[in-house]
Point group: C2
Chain length 591, copies 2
């Protein structure tokens, strides 16, 4: 069975050495002293390692099943979910008034990485609930909050998001699900939704579906869409559960991965729903869930790579095969461990430098969310809005690639399900697709986020990189970080310039380069966090840190990223600058 050991030391490094959270001015951060965050992460690690991870492979094999309208999760999931619930983990970063602990989002993300690495499919039941809570918090009435939030924060009730229909994925304007107003102010919701993650299960008393549907009078396309709360069981005024609502599971999808998460076809047959937020403003409310969910999905992408890398590393250190070409490293054994071979190293360094960079990038992003929410910092809000598609798209594309590479380290055993490496790749694959396929992330980035607020946020990002480089140019030890970062950032600016010059007269010139731009941006972000981590590691070494090995490895890993990964920015720029010409040359029928 694959191994999982939570990287608490590295999470601590990011929280304290890099982000220095406990001295930050964000309200609530001053409580996050190192001892306190260590205690939280250690508890999360225990749950992840001892309870969730051992069910990951068995959950994949068993999957969910639908019997007589009831969805059953794999063996052991109910008990594990009880333990997550009893630990209050879902409410970690939710308001105290509804039963949460009100810790910053950055802590929720750090803990989230552990749970996702341990068991992505199981953690999704909680993740979807968290997203639904965010939407109710942002858009629900006081009565709705009082009715649903305490139960959902406690995870006695879980939540879902219902957007997709068979003919309508990305293009929500095509939606057919209808909501008819009733005399009592409620609605009757009718239609079919597909791909509903955690759509139903046997681990909670009730499921609260957030459903997009068209109510009369809203007009064509996405304009007519509203958001509704549709509980699985009706909720009485005293909070007790009543009759079953008109919503049922049509089937469970057979998927490539995340088998232990019930991806449901949901049928709404005149189900009672309650409008949440303003009528015909459902898209706005949905985006509250979506933005948080997208960062969560980016986290899934790299968190699968984290556990895949851990196992590839262990295999490479243990498996004896071949000899070091520069001289035997294990002369008394029949062969040397795989890790002596440069091409195995290359793969491990790709993975290590990615996952550590991605962790820092994501937690930095999470700290921007805290700044935006807790301080109403508009600049932080704009920046994280810009970076959200990069976190989602870049980290899931690369996270999957790294899972595939970790599988490759295992040779033939990587292809055998028993060894578990296939599951990491299969599970990670979905993160590139859901919450807006990565092409949509790239479109959001190039078509919307770049120009948002007059391009202010991307300019601020460039300024931040420039300032960091300028402030540290005197430090010769950082040269191997600053020089490539400068070059990569120039590539990003040149790409932005290309879009500005061409995008207005020929939008296809910009859109043809959108995915490359998202990757280019992602590399610059990882380059930036690696340069900052190197600086933090040198500071720790200068300060006499006892664990010199950790900090030296950190710097060496960063150097690898800067030398071997960051130069990809030039390729992305070259592609972008070829515009739409070759991309759009063929007629649709010529394919």
């Amino acid at each position: 069975m694959p191994s999982y050991t939570a990287p608490t030391k590295d999470l601590q490094f990011v929280l304290h050495d890099l982000l220095q959270i406990s001295t930050s001015d964000v309200p609530g951060y001053s409580d996050l002293e190192s001892d306190f965050t260590t205690a939280i992460l250690d508890e999360a690690a225990k749950l992840g390692q001892d309870v969730m991870a051992p069910l990951n492979a068995s959950g994949d094999v068993e999957g969910c099943r639908l019997e007589n309208g009831v969805v059953y999760t794999p063996k052991g999931f109910k008990q594990a979910f009880d333990q997550i619930r009893e630990g209050g983990w879902n409410g970690l970063d939710l308001p105290e008034e509804f039963g949460g602990q009100n810790l910053p989002y950055v802590m929720g993300s750090a803990v989230g990485e552990i749970f996702v690495s341990a068991n992505m499919a199981l953690n999704m039941y909680q993740g979807l609930t968290h997203g639904a809570i965010s939407a109710i918090l942002a858009h629900g009435s006081e009565a709705q909050k009082a009715t649903y939030l305490p139960k959902m924060v406690a995870m006695d009730w879980t939540g879902t998001m219902n957007l997709t229909e068979p003919h309508c994925g990305t293009d929500l304007g095509l939606m057919r699900t209808k909501a008819e107003p009733q005399a009592d102010g409620s609605y009757k919701v009718t239609g079919q939704k597909i791909f509903i993650s955690a759509g139903d299960h046997d681990m909670a008393e009730n499921v609260i579906h957030l459903v997009l549907a068209k109510a009369p009078g809203g007009g064509e396309g996405t304009k007519g869409i509203s958001l509704f709360i549709v509980p699985k069981f009706m909720v009485s005024e005293d909070g007790s559960l009543g009759a079953r609502n008109g919503v049922s599971v049509g089937s469970i999808e057979e998927k490539m991965g995340i088998h232990a998460n019930a991806t449901c076809v949901m049928n709404y047959d005149g189900a009672t729903g309650y409008l949440i937020g303003d009528l015909h403003k459902g898209m706005r409310a949905m985006f509250t869930m979506m933005n948080e969910a997208r960062i969560g999905v980016g986290l899934q992408g790299y968190a699968q790579a984290v556990v895949a890398y851990e196992n590839a590393r262990i295999y490479a250190q243990d498996r004896l095969q071949g000899r070091d070409v520069t001289g035997a490293k294990n002369p008394d054994g029949p062969a040397d461990p795989l890790i002596v071979h440069p091409d195995i190293r290359r793969m491990l360094m790709d993975q290590k430098s990615f996952v550590e960079g991605a962790r820092a990038f994501t937690l930095w992003g999470a700290s921007l969310i805290d700044r935006a929410h807790r301080m109403q910092d508009k600049d932080a809000d704009g920046l994280i809005s810009l970076l959200t598609p990069v976190i989602k798209g870049f980290l899931t594309d690369k996270g999957f690639d790294m899972c595939v590479q970790a599988q490759q380290v295992y040779g033939g055993h990587g292809y055998i399900e028993e060894w578990g490496m296939s599951q990491f790749a299969r599970d990670a694959r979905i993160a590139m697709i859901y919450e807006g396929a990565n092409g949509i992330q790239a479109l959001d980035l190039v078509g919307r986020k770049l120009a948002q607020d007059g391009g202010k946020h991307v300019m601020a990002f460039f300024e931040m990189v420039k300032t960091f480089i300028k402030e540290n140019e005197g430090d010769a030890r950082l040269e191997g970080f600053l020089v490539p970062l400068k070059s990569a950032s120039k590539d990003l600016q040149a790409a932005g310039m290309y879009f500005m010059q061409h995008g207005m007269k020929s939008p296809n010139d910009a859109l043809s380069g959108s995915s490359d731009f998202m990757h280019l941006f992602g590399h610059v972000c990882l380059g930036l966090v690696w340069a900052r981590m190197a600086k933090a590691a040198y500071a720790a070494l200068d300060g006499g840190a006892s664990d010199r090995d950790f900090y030296e490895a950190k710097i060496a890993t960063g150097r690898y990223y800067m030398a071997r990964q960051l130069p990809a920015t030039a390729l992305h720029l070259a592609r972008i600058q070829t515009g739409a010409e070759t991309v759009m040359a063929l007629d649709a029928a010529q394919f």
Copy 2:
């Protein structure tokens, strides 16, 4: 269910417009007139489309099962295999004296692409048999050939390759399987082999295992290895089948894909085996199978991308979602087809330009094998020896990537098994691993093939590229091909130069760049074949070809590859030139 339509037109283009086989001086090629190859490809297409492809998804779901020592293939496989057998497809390119049709290898490869795209798992039973036949042809005694080949060419008996053991994958020197000489000249083979594709099944009367084992007196490591024929059922002198031999299936592996191919653990318990080739020279004999098999695996990599691309294209043309940003293309419909969107185009063009380039590259490689075998052309032999790891490694890495990308075009449906896109990716994944994981291909390329015969073959390759560019520099229409090809080829030469300068004093500097070099080389090969195809397409247009649309699309697709894919060579070179420093910086324990 996914679609499959054999690309016979494009195969014909490669055989006749590009390779101009019927006017070639290779013995047997003059028979390959266009009408004749069309007839063969059309027959293969019928079998692939109507018989093999319809069993691909059901075979994936059902898989193989082992019951009371008997391996059962999925429903319909036996009948389909009978049809392949009755059509004589296995013997297409095998000697007439053993029942084959003696057509060139290039035709076997063209047909092979069709069968692999249609049903990779089913075709493997035949592919492994073909490899085993090659080894017996090359190394078997006349008596062995007479005993085994007629039955194997007819596929009444199938073949396997037995190399791997639980503790011994790439490093065959660790092998434990023993062969003890018997008084009658036979051997008793004892040991366990794993990952044996097509190891056993219910579709043939007998299975002829080719097994590597250590016979006494050969010395340590790979030196002591010999190759043995171990039949499942003993073969009497009159060719009739006798008692069951001491070989049995221990279990069938649960794998990520190719479920319909029985990947067996084979137990040899004093099984009777017959030495094939020279004692203690088994590695050499095995490489006869391996080299052919590696080209076949490269073909698998791109053939899965062929069928994945076909389905992605159809989905993108049919699925209505969103509007063309430059103006509606389907104004009367609720939305435009996906294919209007530049990022969808980008993905389709990536796939199309790869699969067509890979097809040309592989069939060109196959024509080199014909030249080497049928004309004893040492230069062709040296060149294909150089290119074999590139065909295997580059085409399987990229082929898998393209399957993943084709899956991405489907959005959420790509993740649902019912739509079939997941299977293409899962099946393609194995091609990066077996017959030598791609890291081993890169090692073979950089560590052995580059320097083979004093570097003569790689110099000849450079010369070929240079000559092609020089000969065509006057043609302005080819500028968009020649300029990028020249630049990419320079990158390849610079990388080779780096290895020459550094490899001797620091082998790790070369080995750290081996995978990048393999990809760099692959891109140059595809750039070269694309430039040649563009030239051939212009020639056809100049000659008044009626199907202008086909040739114009060919040129436009090539332009995409040159503009968007070939620039990757600079990134690979940049990585290579950083050497081993950052790759090998960490101690093994610091990971």
